[in-house]
Symmetry: C2
Subunit: 280 residues, 2 copies
């Protein structure tokens, strides 16, 4: 396999081309809606979730091409959640990845609706494959998944959370969608029950580790920051224990893959190490 | 068949029971989210879309029970669009059916997220039947359907619209979801191509007529209202022509059903007359 950075870049470019083909063009009426959808979808994401989906199909012994539809679905869904999370009534973020957020550029109403339409497009795309893909995605997306995590995150307010509370939010805001990405890819690739179970464990551990690593990266510029300025997760666990947890979770994620032929899981193992070692 | 009012009441009660069973209970964490979802789903809707879905399955010669899942899906999706349409950044409505709207009771962030979760639940429910149900629902829900209609409606602002513009909004905000409800029911009932085509025409005409009748009902308390206070549709077409259009559309809707055995379409014909004759 090529260098991991080259691999990630090449896969992200593939996903970008497929997303472009799967979405209505920017001049389709209503134009402002399709411009807003495309603005947020093509705003420099790493495409980690769809890349995991393709790699899971390969881990199951299939061609990555068979998992393109669920890969697109998971990225469309992820993008909609970012648009809604950034809204003034939620996290009220004006910038994402250094660019103005969707509601800043297109207005709040259009941002809500661009997110709504991306969610519908995600399910349409998943349904072009199979209903199991819709079920996996819907459970990850719904009130017991990503949306439930965001509600719990907001409900916390400024209060000091418990370990249970931060685990609840982490699991739902990141874990469930990583797991859906990997499971949809594995199912698209015809994974056996044992392979699917192993890949599900891998994805769950990776998702949590990825979220912790994100929190650590955010905290890195201010190593001596007050605990209150850290993410709830770091405030509860402390920076050192969180870093140890992330590494342990990645070890467990990689160990879960051991029942699969190693030549099929090289990418998944590389991505797991990258998730905690990355500098951005 | 019993009296139409009895029929509608009995069917709505059936849908209510099935919705209750299909949704997470109000004490499932996060509680505020599931309370908000249930508050809006059980807020006195007529359940017209799911009733049409069940009746379409019967028109195709099947039991209405086989169309329960898509019937629930279309009502969950419809409810989410109402919650988002009422938001302060959109129509900013404090009341719906005489009750405080979701964001008034649960706050804006929770209302956005309750809508998001209901959309996911709608697709999960449709996927429990078949991917065609997801595709029908997703196309009706997406940027070329309901969401596109709402964007065009907002984009209009205070400007006087053209006939094309009001038709664009009417078709998308009401027509597409009526059509999806009937088509999903017909497909669940194993409709032939010819029956499906006839039912699709019926649903499209009914949806537009229903929307016009809604506009006429809203205008009724103020018969001499200035054109600017009327709905865009009535302002463009005038009250008399709009009423004639609605009746003509209903005639066309009923005529389209003539290829089906009349004993199977009694409910659909009754609902069509009810759509334009109702007093609320």
């Amino acid at each position: 396999m090529p260098d991991l950075q080259d691999y990630l870049r090449e896969r992200a470019a593939w996903i970008d081309r497929e997303l472009d083909a799967a979405m209505p063009s920017a001049d389709t009426p209503p134009r402002v809606l399709h411009e807003a959808m495309r603005y947020s979808v093509f705003s420099g994401g790493k495409r980690l979730r769809p890349i995991l989906c393709l790699a899971a199909a390969e881990a199951a012994g299939a061609s990555p091409a068979c998992a393109v539809l669920p890969a697109l679905a998971v990225e469309l869904l992820h993008t909609y959640t970012l648009i809604h999370d950034d809204l003034p009534c939620m996290d009220d973020d004006d910038l994402r990845r250094g660019k103005p957020t969707c509601h800043v550029v297109f207005g709040e109403a259009n941002a809500v609706l661009a997110g709504d339409a991306l969610q519908a497009l995600a399910f349409e795309t998943a349904a072009r494959l199979h209903p199991y893909a819709v079920l996996e995605l819907a459970r990850a997306a719904g009130s017991l998944g990503v949306v439930g995590g965001q509600v719990a995150d907001i409900a916390r307010g400024g209060k000091a959370p418990s370990r249970d509370a931060v685990d609840f939010v982490h699991e739902r805001k990141t874990g469930v969608l990583f797991r859906a990405a990997v499971r949809m890819g594995a199912l698209a690739g015809g994974a056996s029950h044992a392979s699917l179970d192993a890949l599900t464990v891998y994805a769950g551990r990776l998702g949590t580790a990825f979220q912790i690593a994100d929190d650590l990266l955010d905290a890195a510029p201010a190593p001596g920051a007050a605990r209150a300025e850290l993410s709830p997760h770091l405030a509860v666990y402390g920076v050192e224990e969180a870093a140890r947890m992330a590494n342990r979770l990645i070890d467990e994620a990689v160990a879960a893959l051991s029942i699969l032929p190693p030549e099929r899981t090289e990418a998944l193992r590389g991505i797991a190490r990258f998730a905690v070692d990355r500098k951005h």
